[in-house]
């Protein structure tokens, strides 16, 4: 995480196809890319009241044809793939004009799609001529660098963010408007500024505090702004100096978070909780060899606990809490922690999982000075 220290939290001026090769390989944890959409607009569009619709007519969104756009897309995707860590992931946002080409090319390059996500716009521009449906969404593709790799996904953080229900692939946010929209003399600085709320969810989902987030089409720096708010590092690449200037001012004006702990406390992610083998309960004296355990409190399903933490049934069957549980339930697998009970001091049957929790608390609390004996 520290091999790129010099470039952290910086904006590099230039075309990402030229700049990316100068970065070390496999050095960034996350990429968010908002490439040109290749809109192919033809002529001006007027509202019913004959006012002019401000279109995306920037030079950077002009390509000769699909094949030119494909070549451009392949080039920046390949350059991104090189700098992404093997366990890193990438997000790309687009509309129907370009997202099918982007998606097919990134699959061809070996990226592995994890989800596609639709950003549902609460307040999209209507279709003024009434000749199509209101174009009310954009698409994000979330992909890993390679198939079969481990990747960061803060499942529980996103679940919390969604009122303790699993986060879905349809995300509803309003457009970037109001105070959040950067303007100079009343004119918007960038024609396609993305809302910070969208980036907040992206970064929370797929990066950790201290990670390096790369945005090869940095624009006015939404990715950098949210990275700073969430205590991630960012690297921005942008070829338009006026966008770079706006982004620098924008990010500098953000107060860095004062309470990093509140950001890090994210995952009640159980995978990070240290695993406690069942045998530890014996080693710590919470259970003793020879003691009896009941399966689902059933008086007929009693096992004897052996010193090696295996269980033995009356008929001689022997195995771990999980293996015996698998046999007893007849299901393909079984988490034994949830099914075995011991006799507590008051005579009632209590779950062995309570003992695991007790042991976790025990091992997490700061030891007394007395416990540092001889170290």
């Amino acid at each position: 995480m520290a091999d790129l220290t010099l470039n952290h939290d910086q904006i590099l001026l230039g075309d990402c196809r030229d700049v990316l090769p100068s970065l070390p390989p496999a050095s960034v944890d996350l990429i968010f890319a908002d490439p040109p959409y290749n809109l192919q607009l033809r002529g001006d569009l007027l509202r019913p009241n004959m006012t002019h619709v401000a279109a995306v007519d920037d030079a950077w969104d002009s390509f000769r044809d699909f094949s030119a756009y494909d070549a451009f897309t392949r080039a920046w995707l390949q350059a991104c793939q090189r700098v992404l860590k093997d366990n890193g992931t990438m997000w790309v946002i687009g509309s129907y004009h370009n997202i099918y080409r982007v998606g097919a090319i990134l699959q061809d390059l070996g990226f592995w799609i994890l989800n596609d996500i639709v950003w549902i716009k609460r307040n999209p521009m209507p279709n003024f001529r009434g000749v199509r449906l209101t174009n009310a969404h954009e698409t994000l593709i979330w992909c890993a660098k390679l198939p079969g790799q481990k990747y960061t996904f803060n499942y529980h953080a996103l679940r919390h963010l969604n009122d303790d229900k699993q986060m879905r692939s349809d995300w509803e946010f309003p457009l970037c408007t109001g105070n959040e929209r950067l303007r100079i003399n009343g004119n918007r600085v960038h024609s396609t500024q993305k809302p910070e709320a969208l980036l907040y969810r992206v970064l929370l989902a797929s990066s950790n505090v201290g990670d390096v987030v790369l945005d090869p089409f940095f624009g006015t720096g939404t990715t950098g702004a949210v990275a700073k708010r969430l205590a991630r590092h960012y690297i921005g690449i942008e070829r338009d100096p006026s966008y770079v200037e706006a982004a620098r001012g924008r990010i500098a004006a953000i107060d860095p978070p004062t309470n990093i702990a509140a950001l890090e406390a994210l995952p009640s992610n159980k995978r990070r909780i240290p695993r406690i083998p069942f045998g530890n309960l014996l080693e710590h004296g919470l259970l003793q060899a020879g003691q009896q355990l009941w399966f689902n409190r059933d008086p007929a399903l009693v096992a004897t606990l052996l010193a090696d933490a295996s269980l033995r049934m009356a008929d001689g069957t022997r195995g771990s809490i999980h293996k015996l549980g698998t046999m007893l339930t007849g299901q393909p697998s079984c988490n034994g922690w949830e099914h075995w009970f011991f006799q507590a001091a008051d005579g009632s049957l209590a779950s062995i999982d309570l003992l695991r929790q007790a042991l976790r608390q025990l091992s997490e609390q700061a030891p007394d000075a007395d416990d540092y004996s001889g170290l």
Copy 2:
């Protein structure tokens, strides 16, 4: 409209790549295609309760690699393009596994995308392992045979269908379940039967009474069933005789509409009030991680807000606004929105529900004309 009379309202047995060349060129008004998705599933998947997930493991969804799938896709798309009238349009539905390849290839063939549409599933299957987002949508591409052609789009019909507001590109429907799902001896006949509501909207949008609608992957005939209900003609192509048999029975059981004029009388479809998860307040910067919240304004009941929108009390207790509220009140459930307060700019304690209301207003208001980026 009448040049294909002999084949109207028929199901042709065979692979559409073989059958389509026998149809006259430029002879159908609309195509709806639900091709194989190329899911590439690996092992078995178990639910948390250890039951088995019924996978799509049909032979028709198996391809050697992307290149084989691309060749298949190009072949059927080309054959469809030939039989489509010059002013006709085509719909293709898919998931992230295949839709990017389909979209890129149809653009390469000269089809002109008019919209992409997301079918938001009200009741999708969850992600049981918690390793990705719930895959809660599928994508439809709606395209014309050629750029610049006139095409059928029943703008007002769809507007009526949507309570007199312009129809958007995000459509919310439940999965095809219950009585609508074809079953034999309790087993579903087809693993991917689409809901009729989806086809209803597609046909209403882009065809007229008496038009010819072609479905090259007819399956169990959802397209034909809806076409009959809406007084359109259909041509189905399907290579599995058991699907064909099921489709014939299904369509035969439908009474043809007696009052064609009544087809204009359309059901209403009110949009639900959008739910706002508490986490949205952080995503939109209305609250910040590290900030403190008070329960019922009680100075003794203070919690710290974490970046994932969970709260942490001084004693380490942690949970959502609702879960902590439940614990603090001791009642079976608790609407956290009514109980938690934040410190407002003037120092007073204000309800977080005010922030929710503010966010609703923010995202409902029409943006400035300038905020539209031509999308």
